[in-house]
Symmetry: C2
Subunit: 386 residues, 2 copies
């Protein structure tokens, strides 16, 4: 009633998960190797592997190299046992992908958001999802779920409480999508999705504690602590864009003053750049690329402010890595120096021994891949508890 009680089914779930994990990590490997790596008895492994084969999640792919005895039968995860949809719903675009169970992209669609009003945007979103579903090959489990990253605060029921740049309030996107498609739907904010994406498929692969800093129009952060997303008490932690770094600085629409994102986001950059005659990030990037001094100084300034906030993050979380993602990560060449210098100057020495400063490997796909990962891991946790 209260706590999940322990019985034999629990053991089996645990051990099945261990076996599956071994296969996912170790690519082609034999039952004997799984037994050795996991510490499980050979007989146990055989039995669990058989169940996984019966469940179409694993298959035999012929014999491997002998090392002086009987040849091993190699196993691999069946990446095509099902497919997941990952969506990055941006302020002015929709980016979606159909991925297999290993996160390989099978189909991808990007379109600009024609009308950000909730009703119209929802229809466009559904269109994108339908098109992706139509491209899915036949598979044992079909579409295992839909994950969506959104630029706003999401509660534990998948309702978008507030998306400032879309001007949305209280949009129950999870319910809407699951009613429409009859599939499992997970909604989370763009930064959490990005964090998951980088942790699973990108720069932070298998790092236990990392902070993903999504620097776009605003700044969002996704926290992965002890290998899992930390969401706070009501599901909306990580609003670090509104960390105050100047107690008596600029007033922010959030009610606070001196919020980080007023100094270090794309918006902050563009505001300063407007007096130089630049209108968007792309123009600034190419100007920097061609070496314009004033633009380089602009980027260095943003880098410094990013560093101030990141030093705070490092001091608070002592993470293994901080990953800078979203649009601003494209400016890496012109940010990195001043950013690193500031962090080294400002973070406590003990932390610096270990923390890595990384840039997103998936580029603009971090959030989309993370959204897909939410769907995939949702599927795995369902089959584990069934």
């Amino acid at each position: 009633m209260t706590t999940p009680t322990g019985d034999q089914a629990l053991i089996k779930r645990i051990n099945t998960a261990i076996v599956l994990e071994c296969i996912l990590r170790g690519a082609p490997l034999s039952r004997a190797q799984i037994s050795e790596q996991s510490g499980l008895n050979k007989a146990t492994v055989s039995s669990l592997v058989q169940d996984l084969i019966d469940g179409s999640l694993v298959r035999e792919i012929g014999t491997g190299q002998s090392s002086g005895g009987r040849k091993p039968v190699m196993l691999e995860f069946v990446a095509t046992s099902g497919y997941a949809i990952g969506i990055d719903l941006g302020v002015n675009y929709i980016r979606g992908a159909l991925v297999d169970m290993r996160g390989e992209i099978v189909a991808e669609r990007t379109s600009s958001l024609r009308d950000s009003e909730p009703g119209a945007a929802f229809e466009q979103l559904c269109g994108c999802i339908e098109a992706l579903i139509a491209e899915a090959p036949a598979s044992p489990y079909g579409i295992v779920g839909i994950g969506v990253g959104v630029p706003g605060i999401v509660d534990e029921n998948g309702t978008i409480l507030f998306a400032p740049n879309l001007q949305w309030r209280d949009v129950p996107l999870q319910r809407m999508l699951s009613e429409r498609f009859g599939l499992h739907v997970t909604i989370d904010n763009e930064a959490n999705a990005g964090a998951l994406g980088e942790q699973k498929y990108g720069a932070g692969r298998s790092i236990a504690n990392l902070v993903y800093v999504s620097v776009g129009i605003g700044i969002g952060t996704g926290l992965i602590l002890h290998k899992s997303l930390y969401k706070g008490s009501a599901g909306y932690s990580g609003e670090m864009g509104h960390l105050s770094i100047e107690a008596h600085g600029l007033s922010c629409t959030c009610g606070n003053r001196g919020c980080w994102e007023l100094y270090a986001s794309e918006q902050a950059l563009l505001k300063q750049a407007s007096s130089l005659g630049f209108g968007d990030l792309e123009e600034l990037l190419s100007a920097a690329d061609s070496g314009r001094q004033d633009v380089l100084e602009l980027f260095a300034g943003i880098g410094e402010y990013l560093g101030i906030g990141i030093a705070n993050i490092v001091n608070v979380f002592n993470p293994d890595a901080v990953i800078i993602g979203n649009r601003m990560s494209q400016a890496r060449p012109w940010l990195e120096n001043s950013l690193r210098q500031t962090v080294v100057q400002r973070a406590l020495g003990f932390h610096l021994r270990k923390v890595q400063l990384l840039f997103a490997e998936l580029g603009e796909r971090s959030a989309m891949m993370g959204a897909a990962e939410m769907a995939i891991s949702g599927f795995f946790s369902r089959i584990k508890s069934a």
Copy 2:
């Protein structure tokens, strides 16, 4: 080898823990009630309870009220099955307690630290521990462990890497104490210990996500996320005293600028108060108590700066509660208004719906009780895995 594999012993450990948890929570209750609350079968509960009785951790205390059938045999946890030592090693004091397994204080000793040089302090600490051990009644498990909270950064091996106000560096306190006493020793920093103490025995009882802000000479924080201490990658997270709240503010010894503790700690208060002719916190408290206007304004100012940092904490962690502890919590009557006002003004509205702002209930005993709790929970996790 890698992952802990699941077997029947694991089930038994899990279920024993569930049963014990029920008994710890539900005070006197019967086997039948445990079965109902936990969902475990009556027979299973009977068997596990018998093991716990054999292990002296639980005892029968006679029959209870019948509700229309056979009278139940009531069970309770044997709080005196063992004792733990909890120590708060301060900058200028040593506070220690002998507590039973339920955290009731059996004996307590406080002394001022005569000489903060590591060798001398260690001897005084050992003296305190010896005296407390001598007061322990005979019990099945004896002294189950020693927990120590220290004002500094501690690594995963219980070595004090750096304690600025004690001027200690690289003191392997855990090894020193466990060699001396032959007991299990846990060391953690004072803020982590305080967080644990308040979460287990104080204002934050059974709250899942809380941030304990220890406002003393400096500011430290202890993070309890998902009901367990979050320690970061190397064991020293939570250095929020060095969160920069004024990007271009005062220079701090840590290398950063505008650190929170330069504006909101006891040290900050005393610095401002010196021009008014006050030398320590106690004088200021009594002046405030007698209504001196300038002193009240001083406290209000500190309250505001505390609020600025706490608003940041709330935005970052979305905790269920923030608990203000250590010496400055005594100033609650004169801080609370300006503090609450600032937090309400600066934290994002969504968070405020849920977050509670609390003051430490254990007062100066938070860290000591948390240290004892570290020893007790260490004991429980040992008997679970044995």
